[in-house]
């Protein structure tokens, strides 16, 4: 199934959105690894798994727990460490 990851903050260097094809039942936790691979594929100089580890995934309304399963056609935003205020 397909999910779309909206880029935010430092991830904007990869564009506005990244489309990923994932297996049914994939969790947010597993998405981290898949996204890291995808980013490395998009930019071979990307080497920042710490950044992905410290990022969170969210929908328009909530931060997703690592155990949350992804759903078909889900729109997800990746939120790196924050620095508001």
């Amino acid at each position: 199934m397909n999910v779309t990851i909206q880029c935010f903050g430092v991830f904007r260097s990869f564009g506005d959105r990244i489309a990923l094809s994932v297996e049914k039942g994939t969790t947010v936790c597993e998405l981290r690894g898949l996204l890291r691979d995808k980013l490395t594929q998009l930019d071979s100089s990307f080497d920042n798994s710490g950044l992905i580890k410290n990022s969170h995934f969210a929908t328009e309304t909530e931060i997703l727990a690592d155990s949350a399963p992804l759903e078909e056609a889900m729109n997800i935003v990746i939120i790196p460490p924050v620095s508001g205020g």
Binding site: R12, S55, H56, I63, I79, V82, S83, G84, G85
Partner: protein, 160 residues
Amino acid sequence: MGAIFVDICDVATQPLDVMAGLAFVTRSPNGAENLFVGTVRGVNQGKEVLGVSYDVFESLAKRSFTDICAEARAKWGRELSLYVTHGKGRLPVGGVGIVIAVGAPHRDEAFKACRYVIEQVKHRSPICKLEHYADGDSEWTKGCELCTHEHEVAGHGRHS
């Protein structure tokens, strides 16, 4: 009964309005208003800064502000009024990036609630900052990992 107002403003067309915040929270039975205003510093870690751009994930940011304000009222009193607005887009040095205003009957609650709100916003609200330097470079500030729950914030160290 107090009230809560939160918003994200595109600073290109809608600069943050400190007096609107003060006016919103100055209501009976309050007599003490505390405001926090965050402005863009001209220097960060030794580098000359020309401005910053805030990237805000709006829906979730507003939701976090509302949650945080509700927590503050649960802690310091239902009569508290709170106002939080954050800018998005590019600000020059001295530009206002956040306005927090808290009105309370007494000053202790006003100070504590205002401090609580800024600490929580810095740790929980999905906002990123891109700094623009005098040397032409731009860089996303490192920030701190998003806290997904208020209890995680208490032990954190100080950030700007």
